[in-house]
Symmetry: C2
Subunit: 270 residues, 2 copies
């Protein structure tokens, strides 16, 4: 049996009761640690709460299918995933492999930023396609998200921007020398995302954002230190959003019932 268990948003106790039972009954417990980031806890804290050792699975271990070895041998393996379980194609790929190899599977869902973003007061059914912003390099500055942001904006709907996470990166220099030395993890901040939005708009001038646009910055959603601030680009640039993870919403038209909730988070109170 191969079981995917969503961990939810942060705290060790954000796991569901069924998820916890599966973890405690497992022969082997993996934590997928490269498509997201544990916000409010650590691997030792999880191990203590579960009473089970955890193997941190990096990209190689997940994509090579090593995490399926115990399940292939008829044992119970659990892969813990931060947020919900199907946020990344790699988890779909594991389900496909299990089907091909006749390994039974189970899934225990949990909250992810995709639904928890409702905490900012904008209604989930008024969000368009989710977009991802990547860290830019000197030679690679992707901005293909712009057209989709523009399309959401023209439709008057909100856009959740997921901000880049870089873990276990190897620098160009170390890569050239064949050294598997990892850079410290990096998490894109709301400020970096706002600067990217501003720069791409200045280049494209399609009107996806303008001086009247409302942004909502959300940091560490679901944790005790959750932070939500709504305002203009400059207002949000003046806010210290603290530790990761950050996400950013570009609001579309804000309905009256939404504004009643959003105004609780306005940088400038009316």
């Amino acid at each position: 049996m191969f079981t995917l268990v969503g961990l939810g948003l942060g705290d060790v106790k954000d796991i569901t009761v069924r998820g916890l039972e599966a973890v405690r009954a497992a022969d082997k417990v993996y934590l997928e640690a490269y498509t997201s980031f544990l916000i409010g806890c650590s691997v030792p804290a999880l191990e203590e709460f579960y009473g089970r050792p955890i193997v941190v699975a990096d990209r190689d271990m997940v994509e090579s299918g090593v995490v399926l070895d115990e399940a292939r041998a008829g044992q119970k393996a659990v892969l813990l995933v931060v947020g919900d379980v199907f946020g990344a194609t790699t988890h779909s790929d594991l389900m496909v492999r299990c089907s091909e190899e006749n390994i039974p599977t189970q899934v225990f869902h949990n909250a992810s930023i995709i639904n928890a973003v409702g905490c900012c007061g904008l209604q989930l059914y008024r969000f368009g396609q989710v977009l991802s912003l990547c860290f830019w390099t000197e030679t690679w500055r992707p901005d293909s998200w712009y057209e989709r942001l523009l399309s959401n904006r023209k439709a008057g709907i909100h856009t959740l921007l997921l901000l880049d996470i870089k873990v276990k990166e190897v620098s160009d220099e170390n890569l050239a020398r064949g050294r598997k030395v990892y850079e410290p993890p990096r998490y894109m901040t709301i400020h970096q995302a706002l600067e990217q939005l501003k720069e791409v708009e200045a280049n494209k001038q399609g009107g996806a954002i303008d001086s009247n646009t409302t942004y909502v910055g959300v940091a560490r959603v679901g944790s005790a230190t959750q932070q939500v601030v709504a305002g203009s680009l400059d207002e949000l640039l003046a806010v210290d959003f603290g530790e990761p993870l950050h996400s950013l919403i570009v609001a579309g038209d804000i309905h009256e019932c939404e504004e009643d909730h959003v105004k609780l988070f306005r940088a400038t109170k009316a």
Copy 2:
């Protein structure tokens, strides 16, 4: 303290550990029972698992703010919400009232169909705006979702259709006679949704759906009896999806990595 606790998708044990702790520590526990539906359990089953009595709160109790009474008096009140907590504007409204009345709040998120739909193999970041289909009556046949479906389809992205739930309805006759007699609850089926799609397309002929469109019907997502079937409109009409809740996805362009997963659920195997 007023605490919103998401129950997740079905099973009594889909609550998170933190959510369960809040329920067990509460002075009063309400269940919001009109915007969604408990799939895999019943109120007595929840009461037994929690060891706490539950007051089922209907629309009147929630919208009038009666559910805040204990929290106003300094006690701990929990409102249980099926799925995640911010799926309906009424829950946002409660947060606003708490802020106005200086009642402290807490939120424990959980899975909802909005993210759990990833189980069908289509990637969450390739979904556009979520749409809701309503039961039609003789005089009220809303189809304003059509333009948004068309817009998602033109953008090549997927559309999750949430299907109507009618609980505690009073018939026109009983309404006219002033009798508060409730009709049995009704849940729109995948078949009903497909028929509605077909009819609106036939009227509007915008090309939001055509004979090549892939649909994915999902029933009781997250429960032990979860059912996922992908196929053409006629293929899905031939499937018995069983008990509620049902949801329907109109697929956009299906990427290769998505198709590998979706094909596990195809009505007709290639």
